[in-house]
Structures are given as C-alpha cells and as structure tokens.
Amino acid sequence: MSKTKKQTGEKEVGKSCYLNRNCWLVNNINSLPYKRCQYCELKFHKCLFLQYQVISMVLICFSFLLFYVVDRSISVSAIIIIFTLVIVYGYFFNNSTEKIIKSNFFEKKTKESLKALSDKLEDRVKEQTRDIQKKADRMMKLLEMRSEFLDIASHQLRTPTSVIKGTLAMLKDGDLDKMKPIEKAKFIDGMYQKSIKLEEIINDILMASEMDTAGDKVMKLGDKFDLTELVDEIIIQHVLDAKNKKLKLVWDKPDKLMMMRGSLRYIEEAINNLLDNAIKYTNKGSVLVALTRKKRRALLTLQDTGIGIPIEDQDKVFKKFIRASNARSAYTDGSGLGLFIVKEIIDKHPGAKIWMESVENKGTKFCVEFNLLAESKQSK
C-alpha cells in the first residue's frame, strides 16, 4: 500500500518521474506505476491502488452474486466476463484520473519546488545575516582593539616623550645647570634611555604593522646561520639586564652546531623579544635558556620564575595589542605587540612553531622549535 507521508517519502522533485518510494507497488513488485503513486501523493493517504483493489473486489463479488442469483451457477464465461469488466473498469479508472493526476501533480510539484526554493532562500538569507552579523561583530572587536591599541601606543609613546620633554625644558630653563654635575649627567642619561625606549616602541609598532601587511615579502628566509651562536649573542646582550634585576640568567649552551635557514634578523628579533620579556616580567629568581637538538629539530626553551600569565589570558597573549592583565600592571612600558611579533616571525618560518606553558605567580616557559639543516650534526 502506498503510504504517502511527506516526512518519510523519498521524493524526486523536479525529475521526470515523481516517485513515492513508500508505495506498496514500488516496494513489493518493483514496478514504477508513477501515475498511481503521483495520485497517492496528491490525495495523501488515499492510495489509488488500494481503492482500485477494493472496488475490483466489490465488483467481482457483486458480479458473482448477480450471476449466481440469475443462473444459480457460475459458468466459465461468466468468470471471463467479470474479469474483463474489472480490467476495462481499471483501464477507464486509470485514464479518467490521469488528467487530474497530471495537473495536480505538477501543481504540487511546482508548489514544492517553490517551497524548497523559498526554504533555500530563507536559509541563505539566515546564513548571510549570520555572516554579516559575524563580520559586524568582528569589525566592532577590531575597532575596540584599534582603540585599545591607540590608547596603549599613545600612552607608551608619551611616557618617554614626557621625560625627554621635561628634561629638555629644565635644561632650557637652566635648571640642570643649578645641579651637581653628577646629578645633571644622570638626567641626561635618563633622557637618553627614554629616547631608546621610544625608539623600541616605535620599532614594535612598525614591525607589527609590517607583519600585518607584508610580513612574507619583507622576511627573507634564505640566511644560513648557527642558532647556538645567535642565542649566545642574545644572552650576552641581556646579562647586564638580568644582573641589574639580581636575576640568575642560566644558559644551557649545547656544544653542537645548530645550523638552520631563515631570516637571521627576524629570528634574532623574536628570541630577543622572548628573553627581554622573561627578564622584564621576573622580579626574583632566574631565567633559564636551553637549546637542545632532536634529529633535525632544535628546541629552544626560555623558562622564568616571573609573574606568569593568568590562565584566562594564556590563549590571547600571541594576539596583537593584547597584554596579560598582570603584565599591564607589572610593567607599564609594554606595547602589547611583542608576542604578536614573535609568533608572526616564527610562524613564517617553515616547520617552526612556538607555544607556552605558564602558571600565574610561578613563571612562564616559552618553547620554540625550528627545523635544522643536515650539517647541524657536526660538533663545534
């Protein structure tokens, strides 16, 4: 029996044959009486085949009864007449409904096609609305980030500027001349240090902008260099900073060559930034730098006993303009761009990756992995 439930019927809308796969005929005798099935679809739950069967049975029974009443027996010719009548009736039954079936079927098919199209359009509108909303949210977030960046950048640029300006104003007014030479020298040196800080902040802003717009083009990855030697040089540059903060700077230097290919200038910038951060955000304890090799991979780790990164900020620290909440209060001179720059540099080197582990108030460990060249196996 054809059971035409919209939800269960497999319909092929828009095809030449509109089949109801729940139809008894389709399922049991593998025939494709599409007209009947179309009819079933139209009438919903009223299967023409069943109607035909019922009417035929009634007709046969009635005919037999009639012949029996009239003749008191049923002859072979009577049986033939009865079945011929049923077949002829079936033929006319089929033909008479064909027109209605066709017109109704196409009307339904059109309605369904329209409904499907309307649903599809509705889905697309919903999808596009979601997309637009997402883009608007992102745009809002970017505007907020831009505003936050401008706040940070302007504050950070103003901090050294105000000291330089103030010192110069005092120099101009003759105030510095009233001081002892040693004190005057201290002020001049302070002004000089602030100018360096100012330059660093400007460099950070420029480099972040460079990473955003043309990082791939400006970064030439063709330099061949020894990573051990590079880290060694960076460590030497930071010995004094660590000493000034009474920190123990430990360098677990490998005795093997770690030859790699990449941008020497940018890798130096990235490692320098990481070590600089480790010292900056560690008030007591140590900073341990280690470089190890595993087959053709080098692993550089920088572990400090600093303020750590709160868990809620850990997945954001590599993003632009983001500074951990405790970093903002611990060190006011940061641009919020350092780790973004580091990650961009590392990510642009094939096979290199960076990750971190941190516990607030315990310390942070930054790990960087690089691909090494074959000649790294030689001993130094």
Binding site: S162, K165, A169, M170
Partner: protein
C-alpha cells in the same frame, strides 16, 4: 621665623618621572615626597598631609582611580587637592577622575615641569 615649605606628594611608578619632578620641585623650594605605589602613597598622605598630591593612573599592580577613591574617602586626606597626572588621554578616564574629586587631570607629555610647579603653587597658595 622661616616660611613653611609646601609639600608635594607624587604617587608614580616611573622612577624617571619622579626623579625629574622631584628635582624641579626641590629647586623651587618645595618639599617633594615620592611614593612608588598607591598603598604607600595613601599612607604618606595620611601621615604627612601634603599640600598637593600628583597621582598617576597606571601604577604597579594598582589602579590609580582606586587610590584616588581612597584618598577622597579618608577623613585625613579628603581635603588634599589631587591632580591626576598621567599619560592616559581617554575622555572616560578623565571624566571619572574629575567626578571622583580630582582637581585637575593633566597629561604628562603635554606639560613641562615648570607648568606643574605653577599649577601646584596656585593650589597650595604658595
């Protein structure tokens, strides 16, 4: 009898700023007191009763606004004029600081030490 030296308390975590303004105020014959965080700043303000407080907003592990609130709420410091002295130039922050009772909000990079001395002199009646 010698005239009393006017006292200026600067709550600031940037040592270079403190050093610069300390030198200028001392040259102008002020007693300059420096506190590197809000907690010690509030304590000094209560004990030494400065004529004017110069308060930074971004302090080590502290929010300058909170320090301003504390200074305004404490009976011993509620009448001390507080100048918020920061490089943070954000309207909402400026409005909040003035609402909390700061007498002025000055952007550090927009002034030179002599101008701050003038401002403090006007407030302290020197």
């Amino acid at each position: 009898m010698t005239a009393r030296k006017h006292k200026v308390l600067m709550i600031e975590d940037d040592l270079d700023q403190a050093q610069l303004y300390g030198a200028k105020f001392r040259l102008e014959n002020y007693e300059f007191i420096f506190a590197k965080d809000g907690e010690s700043g509030c304590k000094i303000a209560q004990e030494q009763k400065p004529d004017v407080v110069l308060l930074d907003i971004i302090l080590f592990n502290e929010d300058g606004m909170q320090v301003l609130k504390e200074l305004r709420q404490n009976i011993k410091t509620e009448n001390i004029p507080v100048i918020v002295f920061s490089n943070l130039d954000k309207k909402e922050i400026i409005d909040e600081a003035l609402k909390l009772g700061a007498v002025d909000y000055i952007i550090k990079s927009k002034v030179v030490p002599a101008q701050i001395v003038e401002k403090v002199a006007a407030l302290s009646g020197k």
